[in-house]
C-alpha cells in the first residue's frame, strides 16, 4: 500500500525523507491547494483543501466545491457537516496540530477530534488524516499517522485506506 501526506513547504521535505518516513509522496500545500480561511478569494476554494476559520463563510466555501475541509477547532456543527456530506467533501484531520499541543489542551483536542471523526463517519463522510506539518517537528512517519488515526477511533483498515487512497485523492481528484 502506498501512503501519502500533506505538509507545508516550510518543512523542507525531500524524496529521501519521504522514503524514510514510509510515504510514497508528501504533497506540498501548493500541490494540495491549501487555502487559509482567514484570507482567501472565493475563486481559490474550488478543488482546494480549505481550512475553515471563524472569519470564513464556511457555507459559501463549501458551495464552491473544495476537495476537503479542515475544522481546526474540531467543533461539530451539524448543519455544516450535513452540507459536507451532501457535497461529498472530505473531512481532513490535521495530526500535526494535535501532536504539537501539550497536556490538558492536547487531551481536550483529542477528545473533540475523536467525536468529530465519529460523527463524520456516521454521516459517511470520507475522513483524511494528514500531518499538515509546518515544520519537521510536526511531521511523523506513516506508522505514527496510522496509530494516531486509530487513537481517534479509526479501524486499522480505515486508517490505512485513509492515508493511502483518500490522501491521494485530495490531490489527484
Amino acid at each position: 500500500m502506498e501512503y501519502y501526506d500533506v505538509a507545508y513547504e516550510t518543512c523542507g521535505t525531500d524524496s529521501k525523507l519521504e522514503k524514510r518516513l514510509g510515504y510514497e509522496r508528501i504533497f506540498s500545500s501548493k500541490e494540495a491547494k491549501v487555502v487559509d480561511g482567514n484570507s482567501y478569494k472565493g475563486s481559490e476554494v474550488e478543488d482546494s483543501l480549505f481550512i475553515s476559520s471563524p472569519r470564513a463563510n464556511i457555507m459559501a466555501a463549501l458551495k464552491a466545491s473544495p476537495k476537503a475541509v479542515v475544522f481546526p477547532d474540531s467543533r461539530i456543527d451539524r448543519k455544516v457537516i450535513k452540507v459536507v456530506a451532501e457535497r461529498e467533501v472530505a473531512l481532513c484531520i490535521p495530526i500535526g496540530d494535535l501532536t504539537s499541543s501539550y497536556g490538558l489542551q492536547r487531551s481536550r483536542s483529542l477528545y473533540m477530534t475523536s467525536k468529530l471523526f465519529d460523527y463524520a463517519r456516521s454521516k459517511k463522510i470520507d475522513v483524511s488524516f494528514v500531518t499538515l506539518a509546518r515544520d519537521r517537528t510536526q511531521l511523523c512517519s506513516y506508522i505514527q499517522l496510522i496509530e494516531m488515526a486509530k487513537l481517534l477511533g479509526a479501524s486499522e483498515e480505515y486508517a490505512r485506506e485513509s492515508i493511502s487512497k483518500i490522501n491521494k485523492s485530495m490531490v489527484s481528484r
Binding site: L21, S100, T137, Q144, E147, M148
Partner: protein
C-alpha cells in the same frame, strides 16, 4: 512465560552525541512516562537497546503496549528542553529485523 517484545527503530530530528546519551535517555523516559502514565510505562517497560549513528536508536518495549508507545513517541516534542521530533521508522519482533530495515 517471557513477555513478547517489540523493537522500534526511532529517528530523532536532533543528533544525540555520545556523552549526552545517558541524559537523553533519562529525559526521554520522563517524557514517555508523562505521555503513557505510570501504569502504562511499567507495562511497556521501554529501554534503548542500541544507537545507530548519531540520530537513530532501537527502542524495546512490550508488545502489548507497542501502540501506546508509538503514540507516546509521536507526542514527544521536547527532550531535555530541546525541541525535536521522534519518527518511528520501523518496528519488528527482533533487533536483527529492525537493523536490516535500517540498512539502505
Amino acid at each position: 512465560m517471557r513477555d513478547k517484545r517489540r523493537y522500534i527503530l526511532v529517528e530523532s530530528t536532533v543528533d544525540v552525541a555520545e556523552p549526552a546519551r545517558k541524559q537523553f535517555e533519562h529525559d526521554l523516559f520522563k517524557e514517555l512516562l508523562h505521555n503513557i502514565g505510570e501504569t502504562g510505562y511499567f507495562k511497556a517497560n521501554p529501554k534503548v537497546m542500541k544507537y545507530i549513528g548519531s540520530n537513530r536508536f532501537i527502542l524495546k518495549c512490550s508488545l502489548v503496549k507497542y501502540k501506546e508507545m508509538v503514540v507516546a513517541l509521536t507526542f514527544t516534542k521536547k527532550v531535555g528542553g530541546q525541541n525535536l521530533a521522534l519518527y518511528t521508522l520501523n518496528a519488528s519482533g527482533t533487533i536483527k529485523a529492525v537493523e536490516k530495515a535500517n540498512s539502505p
